[in-house]
């Protein structure tokens, strides 16, 4: 076992807290993206409470790992993980999407310290992460211990620009670039394989010279082990294809693409919190 029982318990508790906050903030905001945010809660928990080399009190610390959120619409999970790990007060989460809030509808680096890029339109995160890793390679070479994580959706793999970045990364091979694809099989209009098939996804990345790891995105052992493996690959970029359930933790939302881009009503929010508390 990679993780002790107590660490596992700690992570499960944190993930549940993060999910509760996601429901609360989206219910309060009355708009936003619920399914993807809930689905990525375990991975964000693993990142902010174990994997990332970061300092929430010094968000601009030069030695930090960089986390680029490409599909900015799932920012409730980013904000929630950041608040729970100490970047800003938990109460601020309820300002999501409000006028004057640092928690913009899609995360923006100038509004909130600790956010690395300003995202929104899909297919632009990976290229930025490749650029960051290239700059790091110019400055520190192959011994750099800073890692560059790009969190992406599966839907945005339909953007041609994503594959331009995949191709460049396969050419320049930054050892410290790790993409994590949320393979939740849904997008706004339906199921990815109906809208525009992505499979065989792993083979596609392999063909572009990437090291590919497929995991259960809700299994902490899987997540930590995959990142460990990706870090040890020195001659290629790595992609972790994380199979997740959109809406994970809330039965009414799980697996339903209709929840890609909507927020719970007050009633739905209350039920969702009850469902999440059941697992306490």
């Amino acid at each position: 076992m990679l993780l002790t029982d107590s660490k596992l318990q700690f992570l499960n508790d944190k993930a549940r807290d993060i999910r509760r906050s996601i429901i609360e903030m989206l219910t309060e905001a009355k708009s936003g993206h619920t399914a993807g945010a809930l689905g990525m809660a375990d991975i964000f928990t693993a990142l902010y409470f174990g994997i990332l080399n970061h300092n929430p009190k010094k968000p601009d610390w030069a030695e930090r790992d960089r986390l680029v959120l490409s599909n900015g619409h799932i920012c409730p999970v980013l904000y929630s993980a950041m608040a729970h790990s100490g970047y800003f007060p938990l109460e601020e989460l309820k300002t999501l999407r409000r006028y004057g809030s640092r928690l913009q509808g899609h995360s923006h680096r100038e509004w909130l310290p600790g956010v690395e890029t300003s995202s929104g339109p899909l297919g632009e995160g990976l290229g930025q992460a490749v650029g960051m890793a290239l700059a790091d390679k110019m400055d520190r070479g192959r011994v750099s211990q800073r890692f560059f994580y790009c969190l992406m959706s599966d839907g945005e793999l339909q953007e041609g620009s994503t594959w331009e970045a995949v191709m460049l990364a396969g050419k320049v091979c930054p050892h410290n670039l790790i993409a994590i694809v949320d393979r939740n099989n849904i997008q706004i209009d339906g199921v990815t394989e109906d809208i525009m098939p992505l499979e065989p996804l792993a083979q596609k990345f392999r063909a572009f010279n990437w090291h590919v790891i497929e995991i259960d995105g809700h299994n902490f052992e899987d997540i930590f082990s995959a990142v460990g493996q990706a870090k040890s690959v020195f001659n290629r970029p790595s992609v972790i294809i994380a199979h997740t359930t959109p809406g994970k933790g809330v039965p009414a939302i799980e697996g339903r693409y209709e929840w890609h881009g909507k927020a719970p009503t007050e009633k739905e929010g209350k039920q969702a919190i009850k469902d999440l508390n059941k697992n306490d």
Partner: protein, 325 residues
């Protein structure tokens, strides 16, 4: 009086492509600041990035024919402290990748210099598909973006170096064809400051020009002077931020304006000047530019004449605008 090329009005004036000046400036910029990096999308020879790539191979990134990626990778480099010059043809960048420039560079506020070469009709033989006439409009409408259109190779060199010291997204527009070197080494250049290249106490109109139209404006002013019509000529190399102070001072003296640019009349330098004057000092204006048309194949000079960007077209516009006062 400003120090320009002494052979400015001669027939044998030195001709040099504006893009060449950029290449020389970039090479100097590489020495000047070790954080300067260059990216190109399979056009490094024709955009004059090649010498930089040879001298600083570790600071050169070839992204292949992928302009969207050109912009976002540059943004990532900038967010780590680099000063990227992302170089391609204007038709592709900012043409193809406008939204990436808007979001990943300008909205994200990263210090990327977009360099669009081969802009304008002067690309000539390649035809309308490659004659970018909308790029000034595309660039200047984005918040935070600085837009610079040098009038000759020497100015392009100075502009490239000057952009290194400005921490801000910027667009630098270049031309392919050889064009007259209007300025001299000592001609002042400062981003955001328009320069008066010709002035007269008896000026009846102001010609505000950018890019290779500056030389044409100067030639027109000389011909007009022979007919007894004096004009002021402003080299307005920085479209944004517009130097309203200089423009206003000259327009107040004359009360008539002609703008000249190798771009659509809509959205470019002329529109920027019109927006400013409409709010501050409305006067009659005439526009020299391409009138809502696509380009076509041909020689650079003949295309400029065909689309109404000739010296005589400027002269006519000046006379017309003076009549309208």
């Amino acid at each position: 009086m400003i120090n320009l090329n002494p052979k400015l009005y001669d027939n044998n004036i030195e001709l040099k492509p504006i893009r060449d000046g950029f290449g020389e400036g970039l090479l100097l910029a590489g020495d000047y600041d070790k954080d300067v990096v260059a990216l190109c999308a399979d056009l490094k020879e024709s955009t004059r990035v090649e010498e930089f790539a040879k001298k600083f191979p570790e600071r050169f990134v070839e992204v292949g024919v992928a302009e969207q990626n050109l912009a976002v990778v540059a943004s990532g480099l900038a967010s780590m402290g680099k000063i990227p010059f992302a170089v391609s043809y204007a038709i592709f960048s900012p043409g193809r990748n406008w939204e990436q420039i808007r979001t990943a560079i300008c909205y994200n506020n990263t210090n990327v210099k977009i360099v669009g070469s081969h802009a304008g009709l002067n690309v000539g033989a390649d035809g309308g598909s490659h004659q970018m006439l909308e790029d000034i409009a595309l660039a200047r409408v984005i918040p935070r973006m600085i837009v610079v259109v040098p009038c000759d190779a020497l100015e392009a060199k100075k502009a490239t170096l000057a952009l290194v010291d400005i921490i801000c997204p910027a667009y630098l527009r270049l031309a392919r064809e050889k064009s007259p070197v209007v300025t001299s080494v000592t001609t002042p250049f400062e981003i955001g400051r328009a320069e008066i290249f010709r002035e007269s106490k008896r000026a009846q109109a102001v010609i505000i020009a950018c890019g290779l139209m500056v030389h044409r404006a100067m030639m027109a002013s000389k011909k007009l002077a022979k007919e007894g019509i004096e004009v002021t000529v402003i080299n307005n190399h920085t479209i944004k931020p517009l130097d309203g102070k200089t423009i206003l001072a000259e327009v107040e003296k004359t009360g008539a304006v002609v703008v000249a640019e190798e771009h659509q009349k809509a959205g470019g330098l002329g529109s920027a000047v019109a927006e400013f004057l409409a709010q501050n000092y409305p006067v009659p204006m005439e526009f020299i530019g391409v009138d809502d048309k696509f380009g076509e194949s041909g020689g650079s000079a003949e295309l400029l004449e065909h689309f109404g960007l000739g010296v005589d077209d400027i002269i006519e516009a000046v006379k017309k605008v003076i009549d309208r006062k």
